[in-house]
Amino acid sequence: MSGNPWLTVENLGLTEGGTRIIDDVSLALGAQRTVVLGPNGAGKSTLLRLIHGLLHPSAGALRWTQPLSQAMVFQRPVMLRTTALANVVYGLKLKGHTTNECERRARQALAHVGLEALAKRPARLLSGGEQQRVALARVWALEPELLILDEPTASLDPASSREVERIINEIAASGTRILMTTHNLGQARRIAEEIVFIDRGRIAEQTPVAEFFTQPRTPAAQDFLQEEMP
């Protein structure tokens, strides 16, 4: 763990239909860029949703060192049936910005993700990669202190993935904390400072990125890396 924790997760649990999806998770997040790794169904997405507040834990608690403004990007971007620009404006409007301010910041955010030329295009007719970039612009415009991303490149082609990765790195460079999941280990390596490895709803290990990929501490992580990296 690097830096003082901005979030301490205490004995967090989520049980649904008798299954423990998240099982007694305790964790101190202090790194600026954390990637959660783990096999399918390990509870990665659920953990992110609990932290973001989309799900309510059935046990335990989240202790924020200070309240952080958050935003989240999902695996499949959800675009409203309007222009790309209006999709970005929508997020800003909900935060109570004035119309002019919304428009200005939205255009700026679209420029950051390289989509200013498509601002007036219907968002749902853009390609998957472009839609995900609009989703990133939508959260970037909000200037969150914590950005949570749930497998943002899982359904994208390699070129779009690289572009999304570039944008995530830029958002991180502007000072936003990043907490994300990915299936792409190369991406995890490039983005993360710290890896949280989760297996069957439990935290298996929390390790600095270089160490995780060279000498993972737990057998579960060793197996995972062996399977994912031929």
Binding site: L54, M72, V78, L80
Partner: protein, 234 residues
């Protein structure tokens, strides 16, 4: 058989010369049913959206109620509105009975549950797709409902057209509260019912053709709107 053919022939002639009496009836029908549908949309769509997105006690009961009211018999609606508007009724002093306004009210009552129930269905589907994203962006439930109403506008046009189709085709409610007064409250369906029983088949048939054309046109428009929207907005 000749009588049958004559009826058809005269019906076409009435249509061809756009007979004044015929036009007046068609125009009143459209006016009443459009106004009723408009009211039903203004009232029913927000109700439908809140039923889809909201969290409040009695929500399930209301959903079942509105779904059930979709099949409300027009004559019963006519009777209830009649009681409301009749001289002794609570809205009697307004003197609306046997006026086009009374017919608009009756059809609006008839159609609102249809629009609300269809809207709820459309918005509920959207809500499953948008829910996490909208909550993540900090939208309240009422804000989300408004957003989804706008986002689902093309699908909702189908709900509005279904409501209009129901209104323009019903006969029981407008017959009771309108009274089928010649030149005042006589619409297509009530005229068809009356003229058929009187044996004046040409006018009834001509109106029947127009009614079928209107209903077909509604479906064509609904289809076209959805196709256009799909291509332009995804």
């Amino acid at each position: 058989m000749t009588e049958f053919n004559d009826a058809f022939l005269t019906a076409w002639q009435l249509l061809a010369i756009s007979d004044a009496r015929l036009s007046a009836i068609v125009w009143l029908s459209l006016r009443v049913s459009l106004a009723a549908t408009l009211i039903a949309c203004v009232v029913g769509m927000p109700i439908g959206a809140l039923l889809a997105v909201g969290r409040f006690p009695g929500r399930r009961v209301l959903i079942v109620l509105f779904n059930g009211l979709m099949g409300l018999p027009p004559v019963v609606v006519g009777l209830l509105v009649y009681l409301l508007l009749s001289r002794a009724g609570p809205l009697g002093p307004f003197g609306l009975l046997f006026s086009p306004q009374a017919m608009i009210i009756a059809q609006a009552v008839l159609v609102t549950p249809i629009v609300a129930a269809l809207t709820r269905q459309v918005i509920a589907d959207e809500w499953t797709e948008y829910r996490e994203q909208l909550r993540s962006l900090g939208a309240s439930r009422s804000r989300a409902a408004a957003t989804l109403l706008w986002d689902g506008r093309f699908s909702l046009s189908t709900a509005a057209l279904a409501g209009f189709g129901r209104a323009i085709a019903e006969v029981g409610a407008v017959m009771i509260v309108g009274g089928n007064i010649d030149g005042v409250t006589r619409v297509m369906t009530t005229t068809i019912a009356l003229e058929t029983s009187k044996g004046d088949l040409p006018l009834a048939l001509a109106l029947g053709f127009i009614l079928i054309a209107v209903v077909l046109a509604i479906n064509a428009v609904a289809y076209a709107v959805r196709g256009w929207a799909e291509r332009h907005w995804g």
